[in-house]
């Protein structure tokens, strides 16, 4: 029902979301303590490697929530969301490159190493300003946001939907990958941007910096979740779901559906950019491989596995699939892609609503059994 208080909307009547935020908060407390406060000799000590790995999963979870917002709620299956993630990552990477200063191999205070290597006389215009953190952060949101806005405006206004839309989003990320591979683009070509030293003056190799980045990822994920939940439970969110289910009806009801789609797509792209920006300092590199179409497809699998249209399901899927990936690529690297493909097939056929849907189903079954046991007529119809 509409008109609930903000608190009720975000927490009280949102059980799954509250559990998700609770788990996230627990992680945000436990991880720093076990890494920084527990001595290394103790069995309970958490290695910085693990902290960074978990931080990386959190950025993936954020990206998955962003995709779920457009796919699960608005029915826009974007197969190019990795592009927005990578653009955010590049914007952050440019800031980190400028932070290196004269500590590069060539010791040039102004130019990153790869530009010196290419004999570039000066910084290209689009690299200016990236020495300032606030400017870089602005670009983290603006670059993916503007691209998504322009792309969405063109695509949705021409009423491109369904498979065609998916294909052109895929083409978008592929085109960007090819462009970023080129040295002349000025983003480090093949090698991308790497060898970062500091972020805001703090050494990236230090444990405390890693923990801070982990915490930043957790906070960004929580805030993004709350923002998305606010959106999907607003009337705007109900319009977006209406567009997914019956776009024509929504239009004839008086909504300019393309505007709704453009805005939700843009917001999702901005969130993806933020995820990318948090990802890059933790893994220490950004290269054109992040634009690879395969990445965007993997992202779709995360969301499908977790369960579309719940937000936290997407985050869960991102965590689980990436945990499996870390495990497989360590133990049986050649099996991973097959496992991923099989997972996708199994989920689409047997779990159309993903793991969250499965949990819901099991719960309903138990409730029905209980009701039968005490002789009540099980109310088969559940309402969401």
């Amino acid at each position: 029902m509409p008109n609930k208080s903000l608190f009720a909307r975000l927490f009280a009547s949102n059980r799954g979301g509250s559990i998700f935020l609770g788990i996230l908060a627990a992680f945000a407390i436990i991880v720093p303590v076990f890494n920084l406060a527990v001595p290394e000799s103790s069995a309970l000590h958490m290695s910085t490697y693990t902290v960074t790995l978990l931080g990386k999963y959190l950025t993936f979870a954020l990206l998955a929530i962003a995709l779920d917002l457009v796919w699960g709620y608005c029915g826009i299956l974007s197969l190019g969301h990795g592009a927005f993630f990578a653009l955010g990552g590049y914007a952050m990477g440019m800031y980190l490159m400028r932070q290196i200063g004269d500590r590069g191999v060539y010791g040039n205070p102004e130019l990153p190493d790869f530009m010196v290597f290419l004999n570039w006389p000066e910084l290209p215009w689009y690299w200016h300003g990236f020495d300032m953190f606030w400017f870089a952060m602005l670009m983290v949101m603006l670059a993916p946001g503007v691209l998504a806005f322009v792309f969405g405006w063109l695509a949705f206004r021409s009423r491109v939907t369904g498979v065609y839309l998916s294909i052109i989003t895929q083409a978008l990320t592929y085109a960007l990958m090819l462009a970023f591979f080129r040295n002349e683009m000025g983003f480090g070509g093949n090698n991308g941007l790497t060898d970062f030293k500091d972020i805001m003056g703090y050494n990236l190799q230090q444990d405390s910096t890693r923990v801070a980045l982990f915490l930043a990822s957790a906070i960004a994920l929580a805030l993004a979740y709350l923002a998305c939940h606010y959106i999907v439970t607003s009337r705007f969110g109900r319009v977006v779901i209406a567009i997914r289910d019956a776009e024509d009806r929504t239009r004839f009801t008086g909504y300019k559906t393309e505007s709704y789609k453009v805005w939700i797509f843009t917001f999702s792209a901005v969130l993806s950019g933020i995820a990318g920006a948090l990802y890059v300092p933790q893994v220490g590199i950004i290269n054109p491989g992040e634009f690879s179409p395969l990445n965007s497809i993997e992202l779709v699998v995360w969301v499908a596995v977790g369960g579309r249209g719940t937000l936290y399901g997407a985050a869960l899927g991102a965590g689980l699939v990436n945990y499996a990936k870390t495990f497989f690529t360590g133990a049986l690297p050649e099996v991973w892609l097959f496992a991923l493909g099989a997972l996708f097939i199994v989920v689409t056929i047997f779990l159309p609503k993903g793991i969250i849907g499965l949990i819901g189903k099991l719960k309903n079954k138990r409730r029905a059994e209980k009701a039968q046991a005490i002789g009540l007529n099980p109310n088969a119809e559940t309402e969401s």
Binding site: M1, P2, N3, I231, S234, R235, F236, R238, V239, I241, A242, D245, A246, D248, R249, T250, R251, F252, T253, G254, Y255, K256, T257, S259, Y260, W263, E381, E383, S384
Partner: protein
């Protein structure tokens, strides 16, 4: 702050300044101003379709059709399958653009140059041939989404239901008889209930012109009687155009009937008149003879 208020006062859009009023500009006297966004029904008809033609790959689904609907009228449109009834509604609501001809809403609004959402916002509501509601929303939410209000992106994001709007929803719920189902998901409603919900959604938009495509398809006899009552009660305040195949239903509405055939008007008049029209008999008998 004061200057700002003055500026606002000056920029107000809902007022005609004295200096444009009639006495100062005698040459405009007698000419009523065309007000954007306001339907001009002063001449009687609310809808003017003139010489409209629509073709799909050379096949003329609508062929030089001319049709007027009066304000407050309840008009039934009948015609064999493929006569172009749904295509005509598509043209009125902006879904299909006619190849030639004009479609005016009131005397001033050219519907062929407006998009679907604009047409809906100026007060034309449409019920689809295949009933369409939002299946994952509750009955209440379906009506809420159809509410007559600012439907642009930002206001919708922060929208809250006012008491007045809630009353409007309650009123429509009563009219369509779905009070008991208010929190039920629309996808779980019966066929007849879905039809009513869709009509209810039209009413939420406070339309002036209702286009209703086959409202009683799949309804029981009782249900279609109630639908006939509902549509009759809506006329006068609204203009209603009903497309229907069910002759008993059309007869029970007992108003002007227009027969469409091959994209043009074949006959027009009372039900008895058109039923005895030899051209109409030929078209309908010719069809059953196949």
């Amino acid at each position: 702050m004061k200057q700002l208020d003055q500026l606002r006062e000056f920029m107000r859009r809902d007022r005609v300044f004295d200096f444009v009023a009639e006495e100062r500009f005698p040459f405009t006297s007698g000419v009523r101003p065309v007000r954007p966004g306001v339907v001009d029904i002063s001449k009687g008809p609310i809808l003017y379709i003139e010489n409209m033609t629509v073709s799909f790959d050379g096949f003329k689904a609508i062929n030089d059709l001319t049709l007027y609907i009066n304000h407050g009228e309840l008009r039934c449109i009948i015609g064999p399958n493929g006569a172009g009834k749904t295509t005509m509604m598509d043209c009125i609501t902006g879904k299909t653009r006619p190849d030639s001809g004009t479609v005016f809403y009131g005397q001033t609004m050219d519907l062929t140059r407006m998009s679907e959402y604009e047409i809906a916002q100026v007060g034309i509501g449409r019920k689809f041939q295949k009933p369409t509601v939002f299946p994952h929303h509750t009955v209440f939410e379906n009506l809420e989404l159809a509410l007559y209000t600012d439907k642009s992106v930002w206001p919708t994001l922060i929208a809250k239901l006012s008491g007045e709007q809630r009353d409007h929803i309650d009123e429509v719920l009563r009219i369509i008889g779905l009070i008991d189902q208010v929190h039920r998901r629309a996808g779980l409603l019966s066929h007849g209930q879905t039809q009513w919900l869709e009509i209810g959604m039209l009413l939420m938009q406070k339309p002036l012109l209702l286009l209703v495509d086959e409202p009683v398809a799949g309804m029981t006899h009782q249900e279609s009687e109630r639908t006939a009552e509902l549509l009759t009660s809506l006329a006068e305040e609204h203009s209603v155009v009903v497309v229907e195949h069910d002759m008993d239903f059309v007869r029970s509405l007992a108003r002007t009937v227009t027969v469409l055939h091959e994209g043009r008007v074949l006959a027009e008049g009372s039900m008895d008149q058109v039923q005895n029209d030899p051209k109409v008999i030929e078209v309908y008998l010719g069809e059953t003879a196949h």
